[in-house]
Amino acid sequence: MTAVAPLPDPPPRRQIWSLGGGKGGIGKSLLTASLGWQLARMGKRVVLVDADLGGANLHTCLGLPAPALTMGDFIRRRVETIEEVAQETGCPGLRLISGASDVLSAANIKHQQKVRVLNRIRALDVDIVLIDLGAGTSFNILDFFLISDVGMLAVVPEPTSIENSYRFIKSALYRRLRELAQTQDVRDIVESALDQKNPWGIRTPLDLLGVVEREAPGQSDALKEAIASFHPRFVVNQARGPADIAIGHQLVTACMRHLGIRATYAGFIDYDDTVWQCVRQRRLFMSAFPHCRAAEKVSKLARALLQNDGLALPR
């Protein structure tokens, strides 16, 4: 009888998490920095990636000076490996790949360069890569979001932020659907869907699916599957009371009912004066005031995300 050597345990899979939201100034970078810090404190090996390539300032959120090497150096091949631009942050287990500081060239990286960056990020030897996506819905941002295992959307309880987050969700989903389209006709339908005045009258992914079912029935199953596997997670930032906290639940229900998208409510962070006082002093509130309300909610959020859990509507 031949002895069969037991297979070695597969290495734990590295996860890519990203945080976007469309609107600027709603605390995405600070939330990314805090979440990364908390995950590192929980024993995870984390690399933060500042993909806000045009307006990178994740280092400032962590209380660090502008780094000597950035993603831009990797993109322009001034360094060999992406590891070389990952700098220590002073928090054990947490490193940072800073965004490029020169605006134009980096924010508009070419497709080939983007593929190289995405591949190297995927190959980093860490537990979690956490990407700060920056504002907007440019293709670069959407692509980072779409390769993520956990795609988060930060919203603040304000109309503009919520409008932008819906736009972000639709843009990301339609970009994925466009990749799956097998014919130019269907690609055209998907592309037109983001235009409010499109000739098909498409307003939501559900409408889009209806049109594709009618025009190209053979392709609708793949799109349906892609919509079903698209799970954005909301994080409500700067919540000032129960009504603000409830918005996360409302967004999840509205996404399901009116967009046909299964989102989850990952958690919320209280509005907390301590946070902006720390921002002004360029200190991370997580380390300066680890017991403030916002810090407690960040650690709750980290736990929920690690357990693939979300806030459930009380039933």
Binding site: P157, E158, P159, I162, E163, Y166, T204, L206, A243, A246, I247, H249, Q250, L251, T253, A254, M256, R257, H258, L259, G260, L313, P314, R315
Partner: protein
């Protein structure tokens, strides 16, 4: 999304308790209310009005036990049998379970009322962990009788059960070491 039944409209199960229906109704009013942040950019004013009307219609039928019974029969929904209780205190409206007061019976009654442990914990200031131990009858982990009696009374009154007699009945079923 196809919101076929009144239950779908309110986003609850057909077995939902009156308390769950009330909560779901309030949630939907906020969701489709004037100036709702979550829906104003997804629905036009006409669709918003329509959504509100459907919520009102659904709630009108389901909150009325007689109308709900007729509706359930029409739709072929079967209601779970209610856990029997007897009135215990006419002044407060508190009731008593007529079956033995075990952890499992308490949990079934709580679920029928649609009340979560977290909610009871917030009201009673008893930790969720202890409430779970009570329902699971994990005797070794329950606190000493003097505290346990207090916890049970808080738990019972949060559910509308008569506190003192419910606590006595639960403790009477414990193994001698705890009681």
């Amino acid at each position: 999304m196809d919101l076929r039944t009144h239950y779908d409209v309110l986003g609850v199960e057909p077995a939902a308790s009156p308390e769950q229906l009330d909560r779901a109704y309030r949630f939907c009013l906020d969701l489709y209310g004037e100036g709702s942040l979550a829906t104003y950019s997804l629905l036009d004013p006409e669709e918003m009005r329509e959504a509100r009307t459907r919520v009102e219609q659904a709630y009108c039928v389901l909150r009325d036990p007689a109308k709900r019974r007729v509706y359930d029969e029409e739709q072929g929904f079967q209601r779970a049998p209610q856990i029997p209780t007897s009135p215990a205190d006419p002044a407060s409206g508190a009731v008593l379970l007529t079956e033995p007061v075990t952890g499992a019976a308490l949990r079934r009654f709580r679920e029928q009322k649609g009340i979560g442990l977290r909610e009871i914990s917030l009201r009673s200031k008893v930790g969720v962990r202890y409430l779970e131990y009570i329902e699971q009858e994990r005797h070794a982990l329950l606190p000493p009788p003097v505290y346990l009696r207090g916890f049970l009374q808080e738990y019972a009154s949060a559910l509308g059960l008569e506190p003192r007699r419910t606590a006595d009945a639960y403790m009477a079923l414990l193994p001698p070491a705890q009681a």
